[in-house]
């Protein structure tokens, strides 16, 4: 990428192979008000840094009464499946961090989103874990504006407006959901018999959550109150995944408007 050549090795450098060291070092830089962008090569390997992220980064502002903070820290990491990754190059660990109050978690779906959300994350006054769906590195292509722009954290985006059902997802599954909507509307001959005609005209509202923590509860509940149905899709496994948290919150707020239980379509465990 030429970043080290352009900005120098004092600003762009390799580190020894130790995620807890990388995270701790980044926290140290951020404690002094510097901007630190730390890369964890695969989200599957973020767990050695869990203590530094959850016990330290997330809590520094609170435990110091606001005197210290590590808002300057952004941790970037490739996430989600790529096809050939097996158990250890495919994970979606965002659920493990959702309970670490003080952190933010962001997952972009495309190049334009990635640039705006990454700049927003770097400039946000809180430590952010920025998880990049690795399969999209080469497959998602967009004309990205070269000027400076930010996209807001904590805000979902409605990709397809609808009225019959809310389909909520983030990262790679956004594209699977889009494909599913097309298949539902005009199924191929082999699937026709399996999809009742009455369903094919359903207007599904597709939402990209974009931020996992804090997540846009307003946008989601507004949508579900209109549609009466929610399906959450995520690559991570079912149990205690992000979908579980969202389901609990939505059933609390939209109980009387729901026409069906909240459904989660997730990775198998």
């Amino acid at each position: 990428m030429g970043l080290a050549e352009e900005f120098g090795k004092e600003r762009v450098f390799n580190t020894p192979l130790t995620e807890q060291g990388i995270a701790g070092f980044g926290i140290g830089l951020a404690l002094m008000g510097h901007t630190a962008i730390a890369e964890i090569q695969f989200a599957d390997y973020i767990f050695p840094a869990f203590d530094q992220i959850v016990n330290e980064a997330a809590k520094i502002r609170y435990r110091s009464g606001g005197q210290y903070n590590v808002g300057g820290l952004t941790i970037r990491t490739p996430t989600m499946s790529v096809g050939h990754g097996g158990l250890y190059h495919s994970q979606s660990p965002e659920g493990f961090f959702m309970g670490a109050s003080g952190l933010k978690i962001v997952i972009p779906r495309s190049p334009i989103q990635a640039k705006g959300l990454l700049l927003g994350s770097i400039r946000d006054p809180n430590p952010v874990i920025f998880m990049e769906p690795k399969i999209l590195y080469r497959s998602a292509v967009e004309q990205v504006p070269v000027d400076d722009y930010e996209l807001p954290l904590g805000k979902a985006e409605v990709l397809v407006p609808g009225s019959d059902l809310t389909l909520l997802t983030w990262g790679t599954p956004v594209y699977h959901c889009e494909a599913a909507l097309h298949m539902l509307a005009s199924p191929s001959p082999s699937l026709e018999s399996l999809i009742p005609t009455s369903l094919r005209s359903a207007k599904i509202e597709l939402i990209d959550l974009r931020s996992i923590l804090p997540w846009d509860v307003e946008a989601v509940t507004e949508s579900v109150k209109r549609t009466g149905r929610l399906v959450i899709v995520h690559e991570a496994g079912m149990t205690a995944g992000v979908g579980a948290e969202i389901s609990a919150e939505v059933q609390k707020r939209c109980f009387l408007k729901l026409n069906a239980p909240v459904k989660r379509v997730t990775g198998w465990e």
Binding site: T15, P16, G21, G24, F25, H34, R63, G65, Y68, S101
Partner: protein, 422 residues
Amino acid sequence: MIRLSAVSRRISFKWGARGLASAVGNLPNSKSPIVSKLNFFNAVQNDSGLIPTFRVLDGTGKLIDGAELPEIDEKLAHRMYENMQLLPTLDNILYNVQRQGKISFYMTSHGEEATIIGSAAALALDDEVLGQYREMGVLLWRGFGVDNVMAQCFGNEEDTSGKGRQMPVHFGSPKHHFHTISSPLATQIPQAAGVGYSLRRSPNRRGRSIAACYFGEGAASEGDFHAGLLLASTIPSPTLYIARNNGFAISTPSSEQFYGDGIASRGPGYGIDTVRVDGNDVLAVLAAVREGRRSVGHHSTSDDSFAYRARAEVEDRKRIDNPIVRFRLFMESQGWWNAEAEEELKTRLKAEVMASFKRAESIKRCELGELFTDVYGGEEPWNIKEQREELIGLLKKYGEVWEPWRTELAKFKNSGQDLLKP
């Protein structure tokens, strides 16, 4: 057999032609010399002995043979001694206060007075300090004050370290360049490497300031120790690591904590300049930390990719001799101290600490609303807002009618009214 030796001759001829035949010389692209004798090693020192311990004063306060007195005058000695005495004065009172249940937790500095004050005196006042939990002496040296110590231990509204949120001894103060203590051990070690690096990257501090990181020999078993020293030595950072070895990690003796020659033997494993110091000898600690600081700060201005960071391992032997007595005997030998001065100091310090304690005991906690502040910077997320509202609802319902809640609320400044009537 004949074929084999013919082959080996052929091969050695070829290797000879390329200069690889001889048993002397080094591994390619390395300074590692080639040897023909198989020899396992297990010691840092060439003679396989233990790493030696640096000392200046003997147990009676006299300079040992060949020792040089570090630069010190009467004024500095008095200041060091006073702070060394302040630690046990605070410890004796707060330890008992904890046993009585008035504060929930306490960590004394018993036996480590020389280690902490000696190193604090050697550092610059604005060197960034990242400690574990026995470094209150560094804060006292820098003027934090007994009142602030009491406030944090009682968690009252004057607690600048953390608004009463943390357990006692979890101090922190940007003003004094002392990073807030956290309970998980050794997490500060890689952070100190990053803090040091930030000093390198700051034009007004590069080559002038260092980061100083304290930890105990037990914490040095954590993965963060390994990660931290690795980062500090390879990136590299002007960070001085000070390992306090008092022979115990809570109840685990050193014999059950590590098998090698202490923590000092690990430094060279990371390419880090290391010294082992007698932690009960405040002058030895002073001299060693000054030199370590000089060396570490000096190297931060160079662009060596392979630069050295200094690390001091400070050994305590609290059962054998007392660091405070040792230094007092030295001061008396210089004519800088006497029995009257000792009496006056002890009386004054005890009165100061008692007065501060009595005052802190009756001060209320921060306003209850502070429970929800400082979780995030910038805009407050919805979950925090809603959870605050939940507490307000509960307070409205039970705050006055339920006696346990009424008693608890009274401990907070304004008794929760900041939430009920904002």
